[in-house]
């Protein structure tokens, strides 16, 4: 695939300058959408494109938009820019180097659901990015792309930014809403779903940065064109954040359906020092470990295929492990991460991540016995299917798959 759709800034230098973005067709789609299309036209186009959420859940975007009831107003659009999954750094690149594209996408989404106020929630560590985006929003407003009565129509749109304060849980959509509303970032009960009662209890669309960045292309070129990349069930391109023991870590935009082999060896340059690949974590710290067998390497990176092998794609933050990585050490890291980030609302996650972190710490520092490995597995299993939100559920995946496939790594830490 030669033409980048999302990481266009790599082909077009200076794309994060408004004049360059406009010179390359920027905001023409936006103008067309506002002046020539009806909101439902936009929604249907996106539905037909089959675009799936790029934040990790992979839910069909157009379908999500269609859940907003037309009897309750106002509607809101919220952009989830809380990119905090370890191993994920795609949204950051988009926001720094191709910011107008995701903004344009956000604006298109707002128009589709007839929202007049949209919010961007940034993780606290993105303070500088937020500052710059604020400047860009002001710029767009002064140029008439945002504000009242756009392009002479009755449609108005404002974008507001909100900075988090360093909690991974605020990437969970309902905890994000709580945070915007000034409360503790703890997930909410669902139902009701945000599409019906979200921000300020009103119908809300929450989309990931990358998801939104796809929209100008879909509206400009059409759903069919979008579907030319990717697979029937997972159309389009995806930015894969490749990291770990590879020669060329970084963001790679590839059609969905490309294989792990292609990403890791063709684009990633293979393993450092040409060591032997051991395992793949396709979804950052929330991953289920995939042992890097020949068979697994040829699995297409798309939502269906990865789920089928019990390792959901998530946000496609592919972390590669090689034979120099001890999985026990890795799991200790991921468990500590989840323990630190647990919001504490529900018993299994709050107590379970705490318990697991003590066990993994002891295993890693050679102060554990064989029973501790079994205990770790038990505690993780005990948390499964009991947690309030996905954080708790995903915190155990690396643990369980790690012990299942790489038990020897844990046993290696035990006292001889």
């Amino acid at each position: 695939m030669s033409d980048l759709i999302l990481l266009r800034h790599r082909d077009i230098p200076g794309l994060n300058q408004l004049k360059t973005y406009i010179a390359n067709g920027g905001f023409e789609t936006w103008k067309n959408v506002v002046t020539a299309l009806k909101p439902d036209d936009v929604l249907n186009e996106v539905k037909n494109s089959g675009l799936r959420g790029r934040g990790g859940a992979g839910f069909p975007t157009g379908v999500k938009w269609s859940f907003l009831p037309k009897t309750i107003w106002p509607h809101y659009v919220v952009c989830n820019a809380d990119e905090s999954e370890p191993g994920t750094f795609k949204d950051r690149e988009l926001m720094e180097f191709n910011p107008y594209q995701f903004l344009e996408g956000m604006m298109i989404a707002s128009y589709a659901v007839e929202a007049h106020d949209a919010y961007i929630y940034f993780r606290g560590e993105f303070a500088e990015i937020e500052r710059k985006i604020d400047e860009r929003i002001d710029e767009l407003t002064s140029k008439g792309y945002l504000g009242d009565n756009l392009f002479g129509t009755s449609y108005s749109l404002r974008i507001h930014t909100h900075l988090g304060a360093g909690a991974y849980i605020c990437g969970e959509e309902t905890a994000l809403l709580e945070s915007i509303e000034g409360r503790m970032g703890q997930p909410r009960l669902r139902p009701p779903f945000p599409a019906v009662a979200g921000l300020f209890d009103k119908p809300t669309v929450i989309n990931n940065v990358e998801t939104l960045a796809n929209l100008p292309y879909i509206l400009a070129k059409g759903a069919e064109c979008f579907r030319e990349n990717g697979t029937p069930k997972s159309p389009g391109t995806k930015i894969f954040s490749l990291s770990g023991r590879v020669k060329n870590p970084g963001n790679y935009e590839l059609p969905l359906g490309s294989t792990f082999r292609e990403l890791i060896f063709k684009h990633g340059g293979g393993i450092l020092n040409d060591a032997k690949i051991k395992a793949i974590m396709p979804a950052g710290a929330s991953s289920t470990l995939i042992p890097a067998t020949e068979e697994m390497l040829d699995i297409p990176m798309e939502y269906e295929a990865t789920s089928a092998v019990g390792a959901p794609l998530g946000s496609a933050s592919v972390i590669v492990l090689d034979e120099t990585v001890n999985v026990s050490r890795l799991v200790n890291s991921t468990v500590h991460f989840f323990k630190h980030e647990s919001c504490g609302k529900c018993t299994p996650c709050r107590e379970g991540t705490y318990w697991m972190s003590h066990i993994t710490e002891r295993i890693e520092s050679g102060k554990a016995s064989k029973e501790d490995i079994d205990l770790l597995q038990t505690v993780a299993s005990q948390m499964q299917n009991k947690c309030f939100c996905a954080l708790g559920e995903f915190s155990i995946m690396a643990v369980l798959s790690g012990i299942t496939h790489f038990r020897a790594d844990f046993e290696a830490r035990l006292e001889k």
Binding site: A167, I169, M184, G185, L189, K339, H340, E341, S342, C343, G344, K345, C346, T347, P348, R350, E351, G352, T353, Y354, W355, H358, L375, T378, Q382, N385, K386, C387, F388
Partner: protein, 820 residues
């Protein structure tokens, strides 16, 4: 009635209205699904995961919408892949819920094991032990041993005060958020909140003073572990050692149902003492809540300053004498006074006490008055609330009008009930001269100047475009009137005006309609029902009396004007708990029993008569008020009054049998009893729910009465009006060291603009002259009051019985403090 849903829980068919949560449906059917974070009076959160159950729903064909059936024609039930929380899932038709399966039991065991990892093994020293949901559930569902290594337990602050009333043990807290939600959702005092996250999630107080809420004690009832405990009961006793003595609170006219939990202990030299106060469930009065004043003010009865021997003045001094001698002396004086005796009775006396006083006044043909500065009782008996009335039933279509009352401070549980009624859709109109805590829940707020209560009420019903129609056409109308900034004449006129309007708009004589006086004492309504009313010319009456019989009142301590009058009386007989200023001047002093030592009945402001049980044996040497009065009657040659509660009550209220007050019916939600988890430790009500008195019918119709004359103010004067503060320095409060820090610092509140004019700041002393007497008091700056009015708190050292002009207002000069 809403739609009924049928479902099966553990194989048993259950039928409940639509919208009920599975946990509550199970409870109603007698099936227990264990919970921690769930509480039937709080919004569900699904946090603790203890109530996970297996839920199956009838399957429906996606395409056709038709139910999928088994071969035998029964609906096919599809169970979800995961267990779901019963506390967040409402019932649905045909649902099948399993709590008693291996899978669910394993889940319960797992959740408990998680909770017990860092929960300290404090049971031997924890106040909650014995009534602890965590203990109970661990025994029922939990693992016997923990696989968690002791060294790795998370440690946190134990015994951390959230204010001086409540201790928080952060290690014991299981982060169920019941306390936070209660403060936020139920009592609108979000002064505690979560801090940090994950394992370090902890409760913190955000107010100064800490946990600044008059309802804070309730959180210790609903806390499912020993994390929140009261300093009052800290290390007090084990729950199973306590005997529960049901009674009614004596602090305000709501008449909250409670139990005094008592124990006979060596620590108190073998005496039976009250260890703590628990709410008793009565969904029609106080639900399962108490305010902190009711919960913590019982220690006065144990004060060493209690009178326990009769006193007689001999040669100028009060000396201890026998009962016989004192009674003889008193009877002689009373006989001599004949119809020139004046008896003043307290609104804190029971109906039986008041009946005895009434009998005495009757046989001597002398005057009996209620010692009170709030009138309107004669109207409340005629157009007050009647049978079946329940504030909890009011919803959309009904109207509540609160005028001249700061409910939050005058009757906290009514504030709560009215707030909840408003949140359920009842139209609330609040009229007051200053902002009150009820304003934010009101559909309409009206401000007036102190003194204009009567005109304002008339205007609400007549000229006010927004309220007139609403009031006239309300399905139900309840009017609360209080004594905020008013004395006897204003409250009497206001009450009559309210009654007049209620009669005009036909909102009386039927359920959930009528007038509710926010009295200053627990049984002022009872006094009114018995025809014992205040005296509008009290000073005159006392001046013209030959002798005074003062039952539970302290005019000398209250007001210099009354002090003068009392001093001039021929003789003074006092029946009291303590040696008050009045008692010090008396000729005869009888030591009376405290409320917790004697039984009787009270009538609440809602006209519900309730049985007040005794909690502890009476202090040796004391007698109940009614008993003393009865012996006086004997002493003057009259027949004594009967001895049993049943007979007493029959005399006071012949229309009702005492047994009726003792009737109970199932409370929904069912709280208390053996299941401490579901709703907390409030006690189950097996003692009685009380019953409404029938309305008094009368020829007298409330007439259009004149508004009282405006208070005359000279140049430079400010209007000084009486208000009620919950934590004042009333007699019973003064013997409650626990609440000392919360009591009003001084008696006068002024607006900041006025403070500026007077060059005075918060906490400094202000001097004023009221009715010719000089007073000085610490001042409190208060933004939420009229600029040119001084608010004088009752029972805080400055006499304040009616609006009056304050003269010679001056602050202590800064100059006096010397130069820097």
């Amino acid at each position: 009635m809403g739609k009924q849903i049928t479902l099966k829980i553990d194989g048993r068919p259950v039928c409940v209205p639509e919208g009920v949560l599975i946990v509550d449906a199970a409870k109603q059917a007698g099936i227990i699904i264990p919970v921690f974070c769930h509480h039937p009076k709080l919004e569900p959160v699904g946090m603790c995961r203890m109530c996970l159950v297996d839920i199956g729903r009838p399957q429906v064909d996606r395409a056709t919408g038709a139910p999928v059936l088994n071969d035998d024609g029964t609906p096919k039930i599809g169970f979800g892949p995961k267990l779901e929380t019963a506390c967040t899932t409402p019932v649905s038709e045909g649902m099948v819920v399993w709590g008693a399966t291996e899978k669910v039991m394993a889940a319960r065991k797992d959740v408990l094991e998680f909770l017990l990892t860092s929960h300290p093994l404090d049971c031997p020293v924890c106040d909650k032990g014995g009534e602890c949901p965590l203990q109970n559930q661990t025994m029922a569902f939990g693992p016997a041993t923990s696989r968690f290594i002791l060294d790795e337990k998370n440690h946190a602050a134990k015994h951390s005060p959230l204010g001086e009333l409540i201790f928080l043990d952060r290690e014991r807290c299981i982060q169920c958020a019941r306390c936070v939600r209660f403060q936020d959702q139920v009592v609108d005092d979000p002064v505690i909140g979560f801090y940090q996250r994950g394992r370090n999630l902890e409760i913190n107080t955000l107010s100064e003073p800490g946990f600044d809420s008059i309802f804070s004690g309730n959180t210790t009832d609903i806390c499912p572990v020993g994390a929140l405990t009261t300093t009052d009961f800290h290390f007090g006793a084990r729950p199973w050692e306590l005997t529960h003595k049901p009674s009614i609170c004596s602090q305000c006219p709501v008449g909250c149902n409670l139990t005094y939990d008592v124990r006979r202990e060596a620590k108190s030299n073998g005496k039976t003492v009250i260890k703590r106060v628990m709410p008793r469930q009565n969904e029609e009065v106080n639900e399962i809540w108490l305010c902190d004043k009711g919960r913590f003010t019982y220690t006065y009865a144990e004060s060493p300053e209690r009178l326990h021997q009769p006193l007689l003045r001999k040669d100028g001094d009060l000396v201890s004498v026998s009962w016989k001698e004192a009674l003889n002396a008193a009877s002689e004086k009373i006989r001599a006074a004949g119809n020139n005796l004046v008896t003043l009775a307290s609104g804190r006396l029971t109906n039986e006490d008041l009946y005895a006083a009434k009998t005495l006044a009757g046989v001597t043909n002398s005057k009996l008055a209620l010692y009170s500065n709030m009138g309107g009782g004669e109207w409340a008996t005629r157009v007050g609330l009647s049978a079946g009335s329940n504030l909890g039933d009011l919803k959309k279509g009904s109207v509540i009008l609160v005028i001249g009352s700061n409910l939050h401070q005058e009757a906290p549980l009514w504030w709560l009930r009215v707030k909840q009624a408003a949140q359920r859709g009842t139209t609330l109109i609040v009229a007051n001269a200053r902002k009150t805590r009820l304003d934010k829940f009101a559909s309409f707020q009206r401000r007036y100047n102190y003194g204009e209560e009567v005109e304002t009420l008339r205007s609400l019903f007549k000229d006010d475009k927004e309220t007139a129609d609403l009031l006239a056409n309300a399905e139900n109308l309840v009017i609360f009137y209080g004594s905020d900034g008013m004395g006897l004449s204003h409250t009497s006129a206001l009450a009559e005006t309210c009654a007049e309007q209620l009669v005009k708009t036909r909102h009386f004589g039927r359920t959930n309609n009528g007038l509710v006086p926010v009295w200053q004492h627990a049984n002022d309504q009872g006094a009114a029902e018995l025809g014992v009313l205040p005296d509008a010319n009290l000073v005159n009456t006392i001046n013209n009396a030959m002798g005074l019989y003062l039952v539970g009142v302290d005019p000398v301590g209250d007001d210099p004007l009354l002090k003068d009058a009392v001093q001039r009386a021929g003789f003074v007989i006092v029946q009291e708990l303590f040696l008050t200023e009045t008692a010090k001047l008396a000729d005869v002093v009888f030591p009376a029993q405290a409320a917790v030592e004697r039984s009787g009945t009270y009538v609440s402001g809602e006209r519900r008569v309730q049985y007040v049980g005794a909690a502890v044996p009476a202090l040796e040497g004391t007698k109940p008020d009614k008993g003393i009065l009865s012996e006086i009657l004997e002493g003057i040659g009259q027949p004594a009054l009967p001895a049993t509660d049943k007979e007493w009550f029959a005399l006071a209220f012949p229309a009702i049998e005492l047994a009726k007050l003792r009737e109970v019916k199932e409370q929904v939600p069912a709280i208390g009893g053996r299941d401490a988890s579901y709703g907390g430790t409030a006690s189950k009500n097996t003692f009685g729910l009380g019953v409404h008195l029938p309305l008094v019918s009368s020829q007298n119709v409330p007439a259009r009465c004149a508004a009282p004359a405006k208070t005359k103010l000279n140049n430079g004067d400010l209007l000084a009006v009486p208000i009620t503060c919950l934590y004042d320095h009333g007699q019973l409060m003064d013997y409650t060291p626990l609440l000392e820090k919360r009591m009003e610092p001084g008696g006068i509140a002024i607006h900041p603009a006025q403070a500026l004019k007077l060059d005075i700041t918060d906490g400094q002393t202000l001097k004023i002259k009221l009715n010719g007497e000089d007073f000085s008091s610490v001042v409190k700056i208060n933004l939420e009051q009229p600029e040119d009015v001084l608010l004088i708190a009752r029972s805080c050292g400055i006499p304040s019985s009616a609006p009056t002009g304050a003269e010679n207002i001056a602050s202590e000069s800064i100059k006096e403090r010397g130069a820097l």
